[in-house]
């Protein structure tokens, strides 16, 4: 019972409250550091609840943050860092899943809903227009309707 509540709480809170990136991790090169921060927001702390390593206080997150900075210092591009992390930890580490057969539904749903919605509305409009035509519109009104749609 108590455990459940703690699990819930961890979810409410997202994490234990403490600072994430530590001063000793920060790279001297500001451009690299900024890139490291951006990358960190895309990587999940795998022992936390849906939290990026940038926000997390877990030791694992710290290890990965340092690893990201090491790769960047070694000259990796952003994509190379992400690829390296995925190769090492699997897709689970990416907070923005890659498009693929398993995530197609996830990525396409918003577009599909909008398209279906628009099509449905167009059908509705057409049906309405027929009914309205039956109610005898003046040619002028009809013209305006056509212009508007």
């Amino acid at each position: 019972m108590r455990l459940l509540w703690l699990v819930l709480l961890a979810a409410v809170v997202g994490a234990t409250p403490a600072v994430a990136v530590q001063p000793d991790e920060v790279l001297p090169d500001q451009r690299l550091e900024a890139r490291a921060r951006d990358l960190s927001r895309e990587l999940r702390c795998m022992v936390c609840q849906n939290q990026s390593i940038d926000d997390s206080d877990a030791p694992l997150a710290r290890d990965i943050r340092i690893l990201v900075r090491e790769r960047l210092t070694a000259g990796d591009s952003d994509q190379q860092v992400l690829d390296f992390m995925t190769a090492r930890y699997g897709d689970f580490i990416l907070l923005k899943p890659r498009f693929g057969s398993q995530t197609a539904i996830l990525w396409l749903t918003p577009a599909v809903i909008v398209v279906i919605g628009v099509l449905g509305l167009l059908l509705l409009v057409r049906r309405q227009r027929k009914e309205e035509a039956a109610a005898a519109l003046s040619p002028e009104e009809q013209a305006r309707l056509d212009v508007n749609s």
């Binding site: 703690l6 709480l9 979810a11 918003p110």
Partner: protein, 660 residues
């Protein structure tokens, strides 16, 4: 004794709920006024009993009765009285009790102020409300009873989780629940309408105040939770796209859509079938918000294994209500007559546009939140869906919505004049262009998107004001005449304008904070200074203090600007021995609408301490915008046309109210 009293009262409430679940519906079927009139007194009495149960639990907390397991697990005798009271709902069992308290309160309100409803509708609504109540009473009594005693009384409690010992989180759940549960009324109205197979514009008029009230509370609840996360979690974020946040945001989106479609239904007698569906969805999402969070399934599939009875019970409740409601909808909705023809370019068209994008946004969050869970269950593949996904999908869906917002209220019903409205919005557009130009000039390269977002915010804000100006003939007539017109405008018009204005305000805050917020992370020793956004912040040192139930490490920082001392900021870190956890208490310095934010990290052996300092430009606008939106909702709620509980002559009580 007190705990047993509460337990007993809850059982009595269950008994009443069972009666109220069947008798009034039977009465409505057989047109028997005596049976139907059972609903009213029963709803009031139910509220009475749940209030007794809630008061009993609260008393146990106040007197620190650790023989009650729930009190033992979540309270501590040294805690301040305020937190003793708020711990009542700072745990699973107690929060469920709060849930049913609000549920029965709303039922009682319908019973008390619903005298202008047709008798059968009122009976059906209260019966459906009671179905929900029954399910929850059973859930509490069987799986989550807060009144259970411990065989041996411990001397001291385990304390409330320190992170919850905060005024922000103390009032966040009640507001959220008022929102969630408020949608239960709309849901009950929808089910009642489906049962009766009849629905008209009057239905929308009765439902709208409840939807508005729920929406206002939910808006405030979400904003409060966001502000709490901002200052309590110590890294200055205010929205994380966390499953729990999403769970509260989805009902909000559905509720916002419902609010708008109900307008169409009320004014134009159209979109009935859709409005009913939204009413069902808004509450279904609220149920999910309550339960999926409670079950822990969102964070881990394995959470169910911790307590299978509870998990299964939750699934059964969800399946029954959501599945049942949707099945009933599929069966009965085709019988409802559609009405009200309109052209695509019209107020109705704009509101449908609003609904399309709000529901798509809601569906996107829904699938993003549940997809990892579904995928893992079906294929075993573990993926993560986090903030980057939501930002990438949600933002493009919201931009078209914001563009259309000012058009909506200005388009005419049935058939609008797009060009005419666009002309009247030229002023708003001009302001937007100026805002973009100014932002781009000042901020320079790399700020194009942010500049456009700021332009959009100004366009939304000025657009909302334009609607008011148009309606009052401002600048076209003498000021006095405009003033008279302004006074004559319905409050719902002011409410709409205010809520839309608030949306722009919030957007402005979001953009400025995200784009121009600054951050310094440093290991600071006493005497060191860090500069951020024109402020010089000197670390003066650290002291150890004792609180009522914690020890505190408090840092002292002096903020100077141009050599002048601005403020002393004192962020702290508290550790609670009873739970062996600690919290960060960030220090905030508010200058106009911007804030400087300092939070402490861990001290290190060389005498320095990790410090995070942020400058958050215009950050307060984010929550201020939400508050303005809620105010708009409240203003609309107070519109005479919608006011619930307007006193009626005694004779009207028994008469069936004709649909207006």
């Amino acid at each position: 004794m007190i705990a047993e009293l509460g337990h007993y009262a809850l059982i009595l409430a269950l008994g009443l709920a069972l009666i109220q679940s069947c008798i009034p519906i039977l009465g409505a079927r057989t047109q028997d006024p005596a049976l139907m009139s059972v609903a009213g007194p029963s709803a009031l009495a139910q509220f009475g009993f749940v209030a007794v149960a809630f008061a009993a639990l609260t008393t146990c907390y106040v007197i620190s009765d650790f023989t009650v397991a729930n009190v033992f697990e979540n309270s501590h005798s040294a805690m301040p009285l305020l937190y003793k009271i708020t711990s009542v709902w700072g745990n699973h069992e107690g929060s469920m009790l709060l849930w049913v308290l609000i549920l029965s309160l709303f039922g009682a309100l319908v019973a008390r102020f619903g005298s202008n409803l047709p008798m059968t509708l009122r009976a059906n609504v209260l019966a459906v409300q009671s179905w929900i109540a029954t399910a929850f009473y059973l859930f509490i009594l069987i799986t989550s009873n807060p009144f259970l005693r411990l065989p041996q009384a411990p001397a001291e409690g385990r304390d409330l989780n320190p992170i919850l010992q905060d005024i922000g989180l103390a009032i966040h759940p009640p507001f959220l629940y008022l929102g969630y549960v408020g949608f239960s009324i709309t849901f009950s109205f929808a089910i009642a309408a489906l049962l009766e197979g009849r629905i008209d514009a009057a239905w929308a008029r009765w439902v709208r105040p409840w939807t508005l009230a729920a929406w206002v509370f939910l808006t405030l609840g979400i904003a409060m939770g966001s502000y709490w996360a901002y200052y309590e979690l110590g890294w200055g974020g205010w929205w994380f796209w966390d499953p729990v946040e999403n769970a509260s945001f989805m009902p909000w989106l559905a509720g916002t859509a419902l609010l708008h479609s109900a307008v169409v239904m009320e004014k134009r007698n159209a979109l009935k079938v859709w409005t009913i569906l939204l009413a069902i969805l808004a509450f279904s999402l609220s149920l999910m918000g309550t339960f999926l969070v409670r079950s822990g399934v969102l964070t881990s599939v394995h959470a169910f294994a911790n307590d299978p009875t509870r998990g299964v019970f939750i699934l059964v409740i969800l399946a029954t209500f959501i599945g049942g409601a949707l099945a009933l909808y599929a069966w009965r909705a085709p019988m409802l007559k559609q009405g009200g023809l309109f052209a695509p370019i019209s107020r109705e068209g704009a509101l449908i546009f609003n609904n399309l994008f709000l529901t798509t946004a809601c569906a996107t969050i829904f699938i993003g939140t549940l997809y990892p869970l579904a995928l893992e269950t079906l294929t075993g593949t573990k993926i993560s869906v986090g903030a980057p996904f939501f930002n990438m999908t949600f933002v493009p869906l919201f931009i078209p919505l914001l563009v259309v917002v000012p058009f909506g209220p200005m388009l005419a019903w049935k058939r609008g004049d797009l060009l005419g409205v666009a002309q009247r919005l030229l002023g708003a557009l001009a302001v937007a262009v100026i805002a973009i130009a100014v932002t781009f000039t000042i901020a320079g390269q790399g700020s194009l998107f942010a500049a456009f977002a700021i332009g959009l915010a100004f366009y939304v804000m000025v657009g909302a004001l334009t609607d008011l100006a148009e309606r009052t003939n401002l600048f076209r007539e003498p000021a006095t005449s405009s003033f008279t017109r302004a006074r004559g405008l319905p409050r719902s018009v002011w409410g709409t304008a205010l809520a839309h204005f608030g949306l722009g305000v919030a957007l402005l805050g979001v953009v400025c904070e995200t784009k121009w917020g600054e951050e310094r992370i440093a290991a600071m020793k006493p005497g060191q200074t860090v500069s951020i956004s024109g402020y010089d912040i000197t670390f003066d040192g650290i002291v150890r203090l004792d609180g009522p139930n914690y020890q505190e490490l408090r840092g002292k920082f002096t903020v100077r600007s141009g050599g002048v001392v601005f403020e002393i900021m004192e962020p702290s870190k508290r550790s609670f021995p009873s739970r062996e956890t600690s919290t960060t208490e960030a220090a905030l310095m508010t200058r106009k609408l911007s804030q400087v934010y300092i939070s402490l990290g861990d001290p290190s052996s060389d005498g320095s301490i990790a410090v995070r300092i942020y400058h958050k430009p215009l950050v307060l606008l984010i929550w201020l915008g939400a508050v303005v939106m809620a105010l708009g909702g409240a203003l609309s709620f107070s519109d005479r046309r919608l006011r619930v509980g307007a006193p009626k002559p005694a004779s009207a009580k028994t008469a069936l109210q004709p649909a207006e």
